[in-house]
Amino acid sequence: MHYAIQVESLTKRYRETLAVEDISFTVRPGETVGLLGGNGAGKTTTIAMLLGLLVPTAGRIMVLGHDMAKDRFAALAQMNFSSPYVALPQKLTVAENLRVYAHLYNVHGVERRIGELADELDLHDFLKRPAGKLSAGQKTRVALAKALINRPALLLLDEPTASLDPDTGDLVRSWLERYRAESGCTVLLASHNMAEVERLCHQVLMMKQGRIVDRGTPDELLARYNRVDMEEVFLDIARDRQAAA
């Protein structure tokens, strides 16, 4: 079977620090998988390795059938990433930013694609505004538009609704659900928002101190820890409380 993501024995060591230790997982095409864990659990390091921004110390990553060690540019053309912590150039307008990334991803029909994204994410009112002058909610929508500019087959999202008010957060989550259903895109989502994970994810990988310490569907994890919501499961794992069975 071809997986969208196939990670085997992935390890990242920075001198004395083991950031990610021997993790393996697969993500099927069209699936949304949550990468959960506290600060320093290794989520960002794992995503950076999936994006080719960081070279693993050991292990192998296959993304969309491409070996990231040998053929990462073929994979990068079909994937994208969004994070509220990685800003777009602040002086450029929203439209200019999207134009830049449309060219970098070799998108054909640049203005038409920007128009489509402006319709879908309701960007029209601030397309001509500098990215640095947007509200947090507007920045999140623009970051998503940037991440979708190339119609990615794989979307990596790092806390996509962080710093958003509940209403805007809900709108973004609804939009992500709809987009995934319509496009069949695979999504890997790192988040601290457990309600978001329960709502969006088919599978969850729980990370702690660089290792995957548990995995399963949200329902499986709730049953395993005998809990009613993922927040309690998260706390059980973070505080080393054992699963119920």
Binding site: Y14, T44, T45, A48, L51, G52, L53, L54, V55, F73, L76, A77, N80, F81, V86, A87, L88, P89, Q90, K91, L92, T93, E96, R99, V100, Y101, A102, H103, L104, Y105, N106, P130, K146
Partner: protein
């Protein structure tokens, strides 16, 4: 096929920035024009008070200023364009796109050419208006002088960029000082022969020294010193190859140690 769209994408990002930032635009031409004014008066003073041949004095000094500014602007154009990505913390986005590192270098070189033209052309026009010095009168060989100095600016900037990848934004000060620091060795206003013997081989290892020897020969004697141009081109090929290897090495090291994820300080 050359992936012009990706190269253009990164250039467009910077051109859009200049379009809405007049201080950046002014900065491009300000210093070359100041240099031209200062050295124009200085060359007139030398010609009048010391009694040298005015046309030759003005030509050698102003020609030197204009050509050296080409190297300096090329260096700054390349390095500052890279620094803009560091300042806006955008390198992460750039390096997770399908843009290859060599395509990024091509875009930086393209921006360096545009920035150099925006800086040096107004100064050259001013030299004609104020001091009746026409740099084009050097002849078609001028294009080869300019090309060699432009390339020298690239490889020095590439060295700075590699250091920033290795050391982070803390190495930024090198961007401003690296090539200006080589001015004494570039033989811009005086021949290499006037330097101490032990310094001459070091100066002759720089393409600029050969370009300026060639420029003086063209202006003073009307002779094109092809051997100097050949030396400049050969040295540029060696230095540029070395700088590209250094960049590639530092880029891979940055991918190993995580520097690309948080480069900026």
């Amino acid at each position: 096929m050359i992936p012009l769209r990706r190269i253009w994408g990164l250039m467009y990002r910077h051109l859009a920035l200049y379009q809405r930032s007049w201080p950046r635009l002014v900065d491009l031409a300000y210093w070359p024009i100041m240099q031209m004014i200062i050295w124009g008066f200085t060359s007139r003073f030398f010609a009048v008070r010391i009694g040298s041949t005015p046309a030759v004095t003005v030509g050698v000094l102003l020609g030197g200023v204009l050509l050296w500014e080409t190297a300096l602007r090329s260096h700054l154009g390349f390095a500052v364009t890279f620094m803009e990505e560091v300042w806006s913390r955008n390198l992460g986005h750039v390096f997770i796109s399908p843009l290859r590192p060599w395509e990024m270098l091509a875009a930086l070189m393209g921006m360096a050419i545009l920035r150099t033209a925006a800086g040096v052309i107004p100064a050259a026009v001013l030299a004609g208006l104020l001091y009746h010095f026409n740099i084009i009168s050097v002849g078609p060989v001028l294009a080869l002088f300019l090309l060699n100095l432009m390339v020298m600016g690239w490889w020095v900037a590439l060295g700075c960029t590699s250091l920033i990848l290795s050391q982070g934004g803390g190495a930024e000060s090198l961007v401003w000082s690296m090539l200006p620091g080589l001015t004494p060795l570039a033989a811009v206003f005086y021949p290499v022969a006037i330097m101490p013997h032990w310094l001459q081989p070091i100066a002759l290892a720089l393409p600029a020294a050969h370009v300026f020897e060639g420029l003086r020969s063209a202006i003073r004697d009307g002779v094109i010193a092809w051997h100097q141009l050949a030396w400049a081109a050969g040295l540029n090929a060696v230095w540029l190859s070395g700088a590209m290897l250094l960049f590639w090495w530092q880029f891979q090291a940055a991918r190993r140690n995580g520097a690309l994820m948080n480069i900026g300080e």
